[in-house]
Protein backbone atom coordinates (compact mmCIF):
# COMPACT_ATOMS: atom_id res chain seq x y z
CA UNK A 1 0.00 0.00 0.00
CA UNK A 2 1.44 3.39 -0.92
CA UNK A 3 1.39 6.28 1.54
CA UNK A 4 -1.48 8.12 -0.19
CA UNK A 5 -3.73 5.07 0.08
CA UNK A 6 -2.74 4.65 3.73
CA UNK A 7 -3.66 8.29 4.46
CA UNK A 8 -6.96 8.01 2.56
CA UNK A 9 -7.89 4.80 4.41
CA UNK A 10 -7.23 6.38 7.81
CA UNK A 11 -9.23 9.51 6.96
CA UNK A 12 -12.15 7.38 5.74
CA UNK A 13 -12.45 6.04 9.29
CA UNK A 14 -13.28 9.58 10.48
CA UNK A 15 -16.52 9.59 8.51
CA UNK A 16 -19.76 8.97 10.36
CA UNK A 17 -23.14 7.79 9.19
CA UNK A 18 -25.11 10.71 7.76
CA UNK A 19 -22.14 13.04 7.25
CA UNK A 20 -22.04 15.52 4.37
CA UNK A 21 -18.47 15.51 3.12
CA UNK A 22 -16.54 17.64 0.62
CA UNK A 23 -13.27 16.17 -0.69
CA UNK A 24 -10.56 18.28 -2.28
CA UNK A 25 -8.85 17.37 -5.54
CA UNK A 26 -6.03 14.80 -5.49
CA UNK A 27 -5.30 12.67 -2.43
CA UNK A 28 -8.51 13.74 -0.59
CA UNK A 29 -10.62 12.41 -3.49
CA UNK A 30 -9.23 8.92 -2.75
CA UNK A 31 -11.03 8.91 0.62
CA UNK A 32 -14.28 8.11 -1.23
CA UNK A 33 -12.85 4.69 -2.17
CA UNK A 34 -12.59 3.57 1.46
CA UNK A 35 -15.84 4.68 3.11
CA UNK A 36 -16.76 1.99 5.70
CA UNK A 37 -19.47 -0.29 4.33
CA UNK A 38 -21.83 0.09 7.27
CA UNK A 39 -22.31 3.86 6.93
CA UNK A 40 -23.88 6.26 4.44
CA UNK A 41 -22.21 9.57 3.69
CA UNK A 42 -23.17 12.16 1.10
CA UNK A 43 -20.43 13.79 -0.92
CA UNK A 44 -20.86 17.43 -1.91
CA UNK A 45 -19.22 18.76 -5.06
CA UNK A 46 -18.73 22.52 -4.93
CA UNK A 47 -19.49 22.99 -8.61
CA UNK A 48 -23.09 22.34 -7.66
CA UNK A 49 -24.46 19.09 -6.34
CA UNK A 50 -24.96 16.66 -3.49
CA UNK A 51 -24.72 12.93 -4.10
CA UNK A 52 -21.40 12.69 -5.92
CA UNK A 53 -20.84 9.12 -7.11
CA UNK A 54 -17.89 7.26 -8.61
CA UNK A 55 -16.47 7.79 -12.09
CA UNK A 56 -18.72 6.42 -14.85
CA UNK A 57 -17.90 3.36 -16.92
CA UNK A 58 -15.91 4.14 -20.02
CA UNK A 59 -18.22 5.34 -22.75
CA UNK A 60 -20.89 6.45 -20.26
CA UNK A 61 -19.41 9.86 -19.46
CA UNK A 62 -21.87 12.78 -19.42
CA UNK A 63 -20.34 16.11 -20.48
CA UNK A 64 -22.87 17.93 -18.25
CA UNK A 65 -21.96 15.99 -15.09
CA UNK A 66 -18.49 16.62 -13.74
CA UNK A 67 -16.78 17.11 -10.39
CA UNK A 68 -14.99 20.30 -9.30
CA UNK A 69 -11.93 19.12 -11.22
CA UNK A 70 -13.94 18.83 -14.48
CA UNK A 71 -13.66 15.03 -14.46
CA UNK A 72 -16.72 13.00 -15.48
CA UNK A 73 -18.55 11.59 -12.45
CA UNK A 74 -21.93 10.08 -11.61
CA UNK A 75 -24.72 11.11 -9.25
CA UNK A 76 -26.14 8.66 -6.72
CA UNK A 77 -29.85 8.06 -6.31
CA UNK A 78 -31.34 10.93 -4.28
CA UNK A 79 -28.77 13.51 -5.31
CA UNK A 80 -29.61 17.05 -6.38
CA UNK A 81 -28.14 19.95 -8.33
CA UNK A 82 -27.92 23.65 -7.47
CA UNK A 83 -26.11 26.83 -8.47
CA UNK A 84 -22.81 28.14 -7.09
CA UNK A 85 -24.43 30.53 -4.61
CA UNK A 86 -26.43 27.71 -3.00
CA UNK A 87 -23.39 25.43 -3.17
CA UNK A 88 -21.35 27.87 -1.12
CA UNK A 89 -24.24 28.66 1.18
CA UNK A 90 -24.16 24.94 2.01
CA UNK A 91 -20.40 25.16 2.55
CA UNK A 92 -20.12 28.52 4.33
CA UNK A 93 -23.34 28.04 6.25
CA UNK A 94 -22.04 25.10 8.24
CA UNK A 95 -24.00 22.36 6.46
CA UNK A 96 -20.88 20.38 5.51
CA UNK A 97 -19.73 18.11 8.33
CA UNK A 98 -16.25 17.31 7.07
CA UNK A 99 -13.92 18.67 4.43
CA UNK A 100 -10.70 16.89 3.50
CA UNK A 101 -8.03 19.02 1.86
CA UNK A 102 -4.36 18.79 0.96
CA UNK A 103 -1.67 21.11 2.28
CA UNK A 104 1.49 22.83 1.18
CA UNK A 105 2.07 23.78 4.81
CA UNK A 106 0.05 23.36 7.97
CA UNK A 107 1.01 24.44 11.47
CA UNK A 108 0.45 23.67 15.13
CA UNK A 109 -2.01 26.56 15.46
CA UNK A 110 -4.29 25.06 12.87
CA UNK A 111 -3.26 27.45 10.12
CA UNK A 112 -3.34 26.05 6.59
CA UNK A 113 -1.51 27.17 3.44
CA UNK A 114 -2.49 25.35 0.26
CA UNK A 115 -3.28 27.84 -2.49
CA UNK A 116 -0.07 29.54 -3.56
CA UNK A 117 3.71 29.46 -3.42
CA UNK A 118 4.84 33.09 -3.65
CA UNK A 119 6.61 33.95 -6.91
CA UNK A 120 6.26 30.37 -8.08
CA UNK A 121 2.85 28.80 -8.50
CA UNK A 122 -0.39 30.63 -7.86
CA UNK A 123 -3.29 28.37 -8.84
CA UNK A 124 -5.76 30.34 -6.72
CA UNK A 125 -7.86 29.34 -3.75
CA UNK A 126 -10.90 28.04 -5.61
CA UNK A 127 -13.35 26.92 -2.94
CA UNK A 128 -10.76 26.06 -0.28
CA UNK A 129 -11.07 29.26 1.76
CA UNK A 130 -14.83 28.87 2.04
CA UNK A 131 -14.50 25.17 2.89
CA UNK A 132 -12.06 25.71 5.77
CA UNK A 133 -14.22 28.56 7.06
CA UNK A 134 -17.55 26.78 6.91
CA UNK A 135 -17.03 23.04 7.33
CA UNK A 136 -17.59 21.77 10.88
CA UNK A 137 -14.43 19.64 10.77
CA UNK A 138 -11.37 20.29 8.63
CA UNK A 139 -9.11 17.28 8.01
CA UNK A 140 -5.81 17.71 6.23
CA UNK A 141 -4.54 14.69 4.33
CA UNK A 142 -0.93 15.14 3.27
CA UNK A 143 2.39 13.38 3.05
CA UNK A 144 4.40 14.26 6.15
CA UNK A 145 7.25 15.95 4.27
CA UNK A 146 7.78 17.58 0.88
CA UNK A 147 9.31 15.60 -2.00
CA UNK A 148 12.66 17.08 -0.96
CA UNK A 149 12.16 15.84 2.59
CA UNK A 150 11.38 19.18 4.27
CA UNK A 151 8.73 19.18 7.01
CA UNK A 152 5.27 20.35 5.94
CA UNK A 153 3.98 20.54 9.51
CA UNK A 154 5.54 23.74 10.78
CA UNK A 155 5.62 25.90 13.90
CA UNK A 156 4.13 28.60 11.71
CA UNK A 157 3.12 28.56 8.04
CA UNK A 158 5.32 30.69 5.79
CA UNK A 159 3.18 30.66 2.63
CA UNK A 160 0.03 32.80 2.45
CA UNK A 161 -2.77 31.22 4.46
CA UNK A 162 -5.91 29.57 3.17
CA UNK A 163 -7.37 29.93 6.63
CA UNK A 164 -6.23 30.92 10.13
CA UNK A 165 -6.86 28.54 13.02
CA UNK A 166 -9.14 26.30 10.97
CA UNK A 167 -7.59 22.81 10.94
CA UNK A 168 -8.86 20.10 13.31
CA UNK A 169 -7.00 16.97 12.25
CA UNK A 170 -3.82 16.20 10.25
CA UNK A 171 -3.32 12.72 8.80
CA UNK A 172 -0.04 11.68 7.18
CA UNK A 173 1.62 8.36 6.34
CA UNK A 174 3.41 8.62 9.70
CA UNK A 175 0.91 10.04 12.13
CA UNK A 176 -2.58 11.14 13.13
CA UNK A 177 -2.54 14.51 14.91
CA UNK A 178 -5.19 16.80 16.34
CA UNK A 179 -5.03 20.53 16.91
CA UNK A 180 -6.16 21.49 20.39
CA UNK A 181 -6.09 24.61 22.57
CA UNK A 182 -2.86 23.28 24.08
CA UNK A 183 -1.20 22.68 20.72
CA UNK A 184 -0.58 19.88 18.23
CA UNK A 185 -1.21 16.47 19.77
CA UNK A 186 0.29 13.28 18.37
CA UNK A 187 -2.56 10.81 18.90
CA UNK A 188 -1.50 7.90 16.71
CA UNK A 189 1.57 6.71 14.86
CA UNK A 190 1.73 4.41 11.83
CA UNK A 191 2.79 0.79 12.35
CA UNK A 192 6.59 0.40 12.31
CA UNK A 193 7.11 4.14 12.91
CA UNK A 194 8.68 5.51 16.09
CA UNK A 195 7.69 8.65 17.97
CA UNK A 196 11.26 9.87 17.48
CA UNK A 197 10.91 9.59 13.71
CA UNK A 198 7.67 11.60 13.73
CA UNK A 199 9.26 14.27 15.94
CA UNK A 200 12.34 14.49 13.72
CA UNK A 201 10.20 15.02 10.61
CA UNK A 202 7.88 17.58 12.24
CA UNK A 203 8.90 21.21 12.70
CA UNK A 204 5.98 22.03 15.02
CA UNK A 205 6.13 21.11 18.71
CA UNK A 206 4.29 17.85 19.32
CA UNK A 207 2.45 16.94 22.50
CA UNK A 208 2.53 13.14 22.80
CA UNK A 209 -0.86 11.77 23.83
CA UNK A 210 -0.84 9.70 27.05
CA UNK A 211 -2.66 6.90 25.31
CA UNK A 212 -0.71 7.01 22.04
CA UNK A 213 -2.18 4.49 19.61
CA UNK A 214 -1.13 2.76 16.43
CA UNK A 215 -3.01 4.02 13.34
CA UNK A 216 -5.68 1.48 12.42
CA UNK A 217 -6.80 1.47 8.81
CA UNK A 218 -8.70 -1.83 8.70
Amino acid sequence: MNSKEFIARRIAKELKDGDIVNLGIGLPTMVANYVPENINVTFQSENGFLGLGPAPEEGKEDKDLTNAGAQPVTMLNGGCFFDSSMSFSIIRGGHVDITVLGALQVDGKGNLANWMVPNKIIPGMGGAMDLVTGAKKVIIGTEHCTKKGAPKILKECIYPLTGANVVDVIVTELAYMTITDKGLVLEEIAPNVTVEEVISKTDAELIIAHNLKIMDIE
Partner: protein
Protein backbone atom coordinates in the same frame (compact mmCIF):
# COMPACT_ATOMS: atom_id res chain seq x y z
CA UNK B 1 -39.37 40.96 -31.69
CA UNK B 2 -37.38 37.76 -31.63
CA UNK B 3 -34.54 37.47 -29.16
CA UNK B 4 -32.78 34.94 -31.38
CA UNK B 5 -29.83 36.51 -33.18
CA UNK B 6 -26.66 35.30 -34.91
CA UNK B 7 -23.40 34.73 -33.06
CA UNK B 8 -21.86 37.66 -34.94
CA UNK B 9 -24.69 40.04 -33.99
CA UNK B 10 -24.43 38.89 -30.39
CA UNK B 11 -20.71 39.50 -30.23
CA UNK B 12 -21.28 42.97 -31.74
CA UNK B 13 -22.76 43.89 -28.34
CA UNK B 14 -19.31 43.41 -26.78
CA UNK B 15 -16.94 46.35 -27.16
CA UNK B 16 -13.25 46.83 -26.36
CA UNK B 17 -12.64 47.42 -22.68
CA UNK B 18 -15.98 46.03 -21.48
CA UNK B 19 -16.46 43.87 -18.41
CA UNK B 20 -18.06 40.54 -19.27
CA UNK B 21 -19.19 37.68 -17.10
CA UNK B 22 -18.75 34.22 -18.55
CA UNK B 23 -20.74 31.30 -17.15
CA UNK B 24 -19.21 27.89 -16.62
CA UNK B 25 -17.02 25.87 -14.29
CA UNK B 26 -13.81 24.74 -15.98
CA UNK B 27 -15.69 25.06 -19.26
CA UNK B 28 -18.72 23.00 -18.14
CA UNK B 29 -21.76 25.18 -18.82
CA UNK B 30 -19.79 27.78 -20.77
CA UNK B 31 -21.05 29.35 -24.01
CA UNK B 32 -18.36 27.77 -26.20
CA UNK B 33 -19.51 29.05 -29.59
CA UNK B 34 -19.86 32.63 -28.30
CA UNK B 35 -16.33 32.37 -26.88
CA UNK B 36 -15.11 31.12 -30.27
CA UNK B 37 -16.82 34.04 -32.00
CA UNK B 38 -15.13 36.52 -29.64
CA UNK B 39 -11.87 34.63 -30.25
CA UNK B 40 -12.19 35.25 -34.00
CA UNK B 41 -13.05 38.96 -33.48
CA UNK B 42 -10.69 41.82 -32.77
CA UNK B 43 -12.29 42.60 -29.41
CA UNK B 44 -9.63 43.39 -26.83
CA UNK B 45 -8.92 44.75 -23.34
CA UNK B 46 -11.75 42.78 -21.79
CA UNK B 47 -12.23 42.39 -18.07
CA UNK B 48 -13.48 38.84 -17.52
CA UNK B 49 -15.40 37.73 -14.46
CA UNK B 50 -15.59 33.93 -14.31
CA UNK B 51 -15.14 31.14 -11.81
CA UNK B 52 -11.86 30.07 -13.41
CA UNK B 53 -9.86 30.60 -16.60
CA UNK B 54 -10.59 27.01 -17.71
CA UNK B 55 -7.99 25.50 -20.01
CA UNK B 56 -5.79 27.00 -22.77
CA UNK B 57 -7.83 25.16 -25.43
CA UNK B 58 -11.22 25.13 -23.71
CA UNK B 59 -13.65 27.81 -22.58
CA UNK B 60 -12.80 31.33 -21.51
CA UNK B 61 -9.12 30.35 -21.28
CA UNK B 62 -8.87 30.69 -25.06
CA UNK B 63 -9.48 34.45 -24.78
CA UNK B 64 -6.60 34.75 -22.29
CA UNK B 65 -4.30 32.81 -24.62
CA UNK B 66 -5.43 35.06 -27.51
CA UNK B 67 -4.50 38.16 -25.44
CA UNK B 68 -7.97 39.70 -25.57
CA UNK B 69 -8.13 40.06 -21.80
CA UNK B 70 -6.54 42.76 -19.63
CA UNK B 71 -7.98 41.70 -16.29
CA UNK B 72 -9.63 38.64 -14.77
CA UNK B 73 -11.59 38.38 -11.55
CA UNK B 74 -11.70 34.69 -10.72
CA UNK B 75 -11.20 32.01 -8.06
CA UNK B 76 -8.84 29.63 -9.84
CA UNK B 77 -6.27 29.84 -12.63
CA UNK B 78 -4.34 26.62 -11.97
CA UNK B 79 -5.68 24.73 -14.99
CA UNK B 80 -4.57 27.41 -17.45
CA UNK B 81 -0.82 27.98 -17.22
CA UNK B 82 -1.00 30.88 -19.67
CA UNK B 83 -3.04 32.92 -17.18
CA UNK B 84 -0.32 32.42 -14.57
CA UNK B 85 2.43 33.20 -17.06
CA UNK B 86 0.80 36.47 -18.19
CA UNK B 87 0.15 37.41 -14.56
CA UNK B 88 3.77 36.79 -13.55
CA UNK B 89 5.00 38.74 -16.58
CA UNK B 90 2.81 41.70 -15.61
CA UNK B 91 0.79 41.41 -18.82
CA UNK B 92 -2.51 40.48 -17.17
CA UNK B 93 -4.12 41.71 -13.98
CA UNK B 94 -5.52 38.81 -11.96
CA UNK B 95 -7.76 39.32 -8.94
CA UNK B 96 -8.14 36.03 -7.06
CA UNK B 97 -11.32 35.69 -5.03
CA UNK B 98 -12.55 32.78 -2.90
CA UNK B 99 -15.11 30.89 -4.97
CA UNK B 100 -17.99 31.35 -2.53
CA UNK B 101 -17.24 35.05 -2.22
CA UNK B 102 -17.14 35.44 -6.01
CA UNK B 103 -20.49 33.68 -6.37
CA UNK B 104 -22.02 35.88 -3.68
CA UNK B 105 -20.51 39.10 -5.11
CA UNK B 106 -22.18 38.28 -8.43
CA UNK B 107 -25.43 37.37 -6.67
CA UNK B 108 -25.32 40.65 -4.70
CA UNK B 109 -24.70 42.56 -7.94
CA UNK B 110 -27.92 41.18 -9.36
CA UNK B 111 -29.94 41.28 -6.17
CA UNK B 112 -29.70 45.00 -5.43
CA UNK B 113 -27.46 44.49 -2.43
CA UNK B 114 -24.70 46.91 -1.51
CA UNK B 115 -22.46 44.09 -0.34
CA UNK B 116 -22.40 41.32 2.23
CA UNK B 117 -20.42 40.13 5.23
CA UNK B 118 -18.50 36.85 4.99
CA UNK B 119 -16.09 35.13 7.39
CA UNK B 120 -14.22 33.65 4.41
CA UNK B 121 -10.73 35.12 4.07
CA UNK B 122 -10.38 36.37 7.66
CA UNK B 123 -6.73 36.00 8.70
CA UNK B 124 -5.54 35.71 5.07
CA UNK B 125 -4.34 38.16 2.41
CA UNK B 126 -7.94 38.29 1.13
CA UNK B 127 -8.48 40.74 4.01
CA UNK B 128 -6.21 43.37 2.46
CA UNK B 129 -7.93 46.66 1.76
CA UNK B 130 -11.30 45.45 3.02
CA UNK B 131 -13.40 46.69 5.88
CA UNK B 132 -13.65 44.25 8.79
CA UNK B 133 -16.88 44.23 10.76
CA UNK B 134 -17.51 42.36 14.00
CA UNK B 135 -21.00 40.95 14.60
CA UNK B 136 -21.72 39.13 17.87
CA UNK B 137 -17.99 38.75 18.47
CA UNK B 138 -17.22 37.18 15.09
CA UNK B 139 -15.16 38.93 12.40
CA UNK B 140 -16.44 39.33 8.86
CA UNK B 141 -15.16 40.99 5.71
CA UNK B 142 -17.34 43.44 3.84
CA UNK B 143 -17.38 42.21 0.24
CA UNK B 144 -18.85 44.40 -2.49
CA UNK B 145 -21.15 43.46 -5.36
CA UNK B 146 -19.94 42.76 -8.88
CA UNK B 147 -21.70 43.73 -12.07
CA UNK B 148 -20.81 43.50 -15.76
CA UNK B 149 -21.72 45.12 -19.06
CA UNK B 150 -22.53 41.80 -20.71
CA UNK B 151 -23.03 38.24 -19.47
CA UNK B 152 -22.51 35.34 -21.86
CA UNK B 153 -24.08 32.16 -20.56
CA UNK B 154 -24.46 28.53 -21.52
CA UNK B 155 -28.03 27.22 -21.40
CA UNK B 156 -29.08 23.64 -22.08
CA UNK B 157 -32.68 24.25 -23.15
CA UNK B 158 -33.91 27.79 -23.82
CA UNK B 159 -37.38 28.73 -25.01
CA UNK B 160 -37.98 31.60 -27.42
CA UNK B 161 -38.87 33.91 -24.57
CA UNK B 162 -35.49 33.24 -22.94
CA UNK B 163 -36.51 30.93 -20.09
CA UNK B 164 -33.45 28.78 -19.38
CA UNK B 165 -32.97 25.25 -18.08
CA UNK B 166 -29.37 24.35 -17.18
CA UNK B 167 -28.67 20.61 -17.20
CA UNK B 168 -26.89 18.98 -14.23
CA UNK B 169 -23.61 20.69 -13.28
CA UNK B 170 -23.82 23.23 -16.11
CA UNK B 171 -25.84 25.54 -13.86
CA UNK B 172 -22.98 26.78 -11.62
CA UNK B 173 -22.52 30.58 -12.06
CA UNK B 174 -24.92 30.97 -15.01
CA UNK B 175 -28.15 31.97 -13.20
CA UNK B 176 -26.24 34.36 -10.92
CA UNK B 177 -24.63 36.14 -13.87
CA UNK B 178 -28.00 36.42 -15.63
CA UNK B 179 -29.06 38.74 -12.81
CA UNK B 180 -26.01 41.00 -12.62
CA UNK B 181 -25.23 42.15 -16.16
CA UNK B 182 -26.72 44.95 -18.23
CA UNK B 183 -27.02 42.74 -21.31
CA UNK B 184 -27.58 39.00 -21.04
CA UNK B 185 -26.82 36.66 -23.95
CA UNK B 186 -27.58 32.96 -23.61
CA UNK B 187 -26.12 30.38 -25.94
CA UNK B 188 -28.63 27.54 -26.15
CA UNK B 189 -27.87 23.93 -26.89
CA UNK B 190 -31.50 23.55 -27.85
CA UNK B 191 -34.14 26.22 -28.51
CA UNK B 192 -37.80 25.26 -27.97
CA UNK B 193 -41.17 26.97 -28.28
CA UNK B 194 -42.53 29.04 -25.40
CA UNK B 195 -44.31 26.72 -22.97
CA UNK B 196 -42.25 23.66 -23.78
CA UNK B 197 -40.11 23.97 -20.65
CA UNK B 198 -41.93 22.96 -17.47
CA UNK B 199 -42.13 26.26 -15.50
CA UNK B 200 -40.82 24.42 -12.44
CA UNK B 201 -37.59 23.73 -14.31
CA UNK B 202 -36.93 27.32 -15.40
CA UNK B 203 -33.75 28.45 -13.62
CA UNK B 204 -33.40 31.84 -15.28
CA UNK B 205 -36.63 33.72 -16.06
CA UNK B 206 -36.87 34.73 -19.72
CA UNK B 207 -37.51 38.34 -18.74
CA UNK B 208 -33.84 38.58 -17.70
CA UNK B 209 -32.49 37.35 -21.04
CA UNK B 210 -31.92 39.85 -23.85
CA UNK B 211 -30.59 37.65 -26.65
CA UNK B 212 -30.50 33.96 -27.52
CA UNK B 213 -27.98 32.35 -29.88
CA UNK B 214 -27.35 28.79 -31.07
CA UNK B 215 -29.85 26.03 -30.62
CA UNK B 216 -28.32 23.87 -33.29
CA UNK B 217 -28.69 20.65 -31.36
Amino acid sequence: MSKIISYEKAVDKIKDGMTIMVGGFLGVGSPHNLIDTIFKSNIKDLTIIANDTAFPEIGVGKLVVNRQVKKVITSHIGTNKETGRQMSAGELEVVLVPQGTLAEQIRAGGAGLGGFLTPTGIGTIVEEGKQKITIDGKDYLLELPLRADVAILGGSIVDKKGNVFYNKTTRNFNPLMAMSSDTVIVEAEKIVEIGEIDPHLVMTPGELVDYIVGGGK
